[in-house]
Symmetry: C2
Subunit: 393 residues, 2 copies
């Protein structure tokens, strides 16, 4: 009994955490409940039920299946379902019609064959990359509707009524879903993508700042800093989320600060550059805990330009993130980028002079590697800056 | 007209490419066609149709929706659908029963409220990470079935018949799907995961081998080598595919070389270590095209231990990949790992001596960074070797 109590408290705590992390989850759950309850009215009111009959079932199904977290995902699924039902229904109706002119046995063979062929072709189409990203669900519903209409027409001669009733209720379901999803506290995938892009860049900037303090041992590597130093790790594997958000955002109409045909694909490029920078940062991070460490007095010799690179790059990255967030183009980020570049040049010039004439070479290697990585971080920052500027233009 | 012709040829060429890349795609399409045609028989034969009636529609729907590429994905969806239909149907039946004792208006309110509450709670449950990975589809079907049974029961008093008919046909659909999917040329997610893990490790080994030749300019950086040098990039973003394959593989029963309860989670760890190694390799790759290059005569001084590290690490990685593929534990990979380690120690010792007394320091930095990265690649190889050994045990 105690175990059950513990499990319930655990689930409750987890639920609170999930709701606190993103309160839109609670709102989303209530929106789905609202939409399902709304289309249930098609059953409860005689006025509707006289019109739709048991076909009202398809409206309920549509709402449950199509309702997604973001407006873009919902719209994509809704449009896919509506158009695929229309096309599949029309083709199924045609197949039923064509087969009905033949004898009973031939009709069965023709219908079975047509279902088989359509299923094979449409399933294979789902492997085409372009279809997969945008129309996967539509192809599924196309097979579904075609099979249902053409095959069940064999037992029910009122195919037209059936197809018509199904199509209209599915349209009602799609409309209810899209309306509730986009009018009640809408969640825009485009906005999420935008924020994710900004926060990823921001995390790189934060890492650099903390790294500078810890590497030159001005700050302790305490728990708080350790957390900040690991924040960037989510950036490394962000590609999947980004891809699907871009895909959803493309379905969304003009909203908020985003005009219709906002260049969403540009976010993919920024994301890819951000990840490239994150790989360098991952390498920097490994030098904080590697077993061979350059003695502090040797690190001190490159400290000044390194700190300069770090502070200018992290300022540039954080201003870029801020600029994306507010959709403004602050000229000071260009200043930071230029400063970071000149600091990198200074570091290079400094390294040309015999910095560590009498030092143990092996002990210097990590510091040299760090310096080299920092200059590459500057290059990455320059590229990210260019890509963001392209987005703003 | 010419444009249409071009488009058709283009689609045809793409289809051929997709089929050639993985011939199982063609097989999959035919399997789906076969399964859909099979359940269509429920409509065509009087014997079946007398038993199932229009409920046969649910069998067709189930096949189309549940049939996935791999056995694990199909089984996961099928089990989710079957159990969720059972639970949702039972609960819907109970709600209908409880509401039917009240007056008409109260009944509507009670039913509407129960649908709302169930939809809200189940939708929120879909955000729990553990539910999301394994039971997302089940929760969706649970809401669907509950709403359909409880709400349509308001108009149709034969709820029991309806729920029973729906459940049996969905079970028939699930069984047909699972049988066709797992008996006709089955695609095992576990096997795909296994091969992906091996090929990812293999790609790192291949990169290293080519890198060694190109960096010390024994081989030209021609087109063929360029392709081999970019192969590893797919490893960087492999996490998403790996996660879903692990999730599917967990649904699969014992098959081929894999026993029931194969430690699939161990693949996630190997994958994560492989990606860490890939980040180092990405850094190495950037030194092939960076603008500051260490003069060849300076590189030559560290050539011997570097080449040793490269050849031993890449041999170890390739033997690891081969070992995973054949599920054998070759002891020679341990020898290669030991050799790589001792080569790394030799490189370190060499760097301790003043290797480049009169060289321009800046020009040496890239070579130092490469050497440092190579020693880290050795560390990664050691870790991957340990993780693979754990898998084999």
């Amino acid at each position: 009994l105690g175990n059950i109590g513990n499990a319930i408290t655990g689930v409750g705590a987890e639920a609170r955490r999930l709701a606190k992390e993103d309160s839109r989850r609670i709102v989303h759950a209530f929106k789905v409940g609202l939409a399902v309850a709304l289309v249930s009215l098609l059953y409860f009111f005689d006025f509707f039920f006289d019109g739709f009959g048991v076909n009202a079932m398809w409206a309920v199904m549509t709402v449950v299946v199509v309702f997604e977290f973001s407006v873009g995902a919902t719209l994509g699924k809704g449009v896919n379902r509506a158009i695929a039902t229309l096309l599949g229904g029309a083709l199924g109706f045609a197949a039923h019609d064509a087969a009905s002119y033949t004898g009973d046995k031939v009709q069965v063979i023709l219908l079975g064959l047509s279902v088989f062929v359509i299923a094979v072709v449409a399933t294979f189409c789902r492997f085409f990359p372009k279809m997969r990203t945008r129309y996967d669900y539509g192809l599924l519903i196309f097979i579904l509707t075609f099979s249902l209409i053409s095959v069940s027409g064999y037992r029910n001669d009122e195919v037209w009524d059936m197809a018509y009733g199904r199509l209209t209720t599915i349209l009602v379901g799609c409309c209810a879903t899209v309306l509730v999803c986009s009018l009640v506290r809408p969640v825009w995938a485009g906005e999420d993508l935008h924020k994710l892009t900004a926060s990823n860049i921001q995390q790189l900037g934060t890492f650099l700042e903390v790294f500078g303090g810890v590497y030159f041992q001005e700050e302790a590597k305490d728990d708080k800093n350790q957390v900040l130093l690991n924040d960037y790790k989510s950036v490394l594997n962000s590609k999947g989320v980004e891809d699907s958000l871009v895909n959803f955002a493309k379905w969304e109409p003009r909203h908020g600060k985003f005009r219709y045909r906002h260049p969403w694909h540009q976010y993919l490029q920024i994301g890819s550059l951000t990840r490239q920078c994150a790989y360098k940062i991952d390498a920097l991070n490994s030098y904080l805990s590697s077993d061979v460490q350059t003695p502090l007095q040797h690190r001190a010799k490159i400290k000044e330009p390194c700190k300069m690179i770090i502070s200018e790059s992290s300022s540039a990255l954080r201003e870029l993130a801020m600029g994306i967030q507010t959709m403004t183009c602050s000229p000071s980020r260009d200043v930071h980028v230029v400063n970071a570049k000149s600091a990198a040049a200074k570091l290079k010039a400094l390294m040309k002079t015999g910095l560590w004439p009498d030092a143990d070479f092996l002990g210097i290697v990590p510091a040299v590697a760090v310096a080299s990585l920092l200059t590459e971080v500057v290059l990455c920052t320059v590229k990210i800056n260019e890509a963001v500027a392209k987005l703003a233009s």
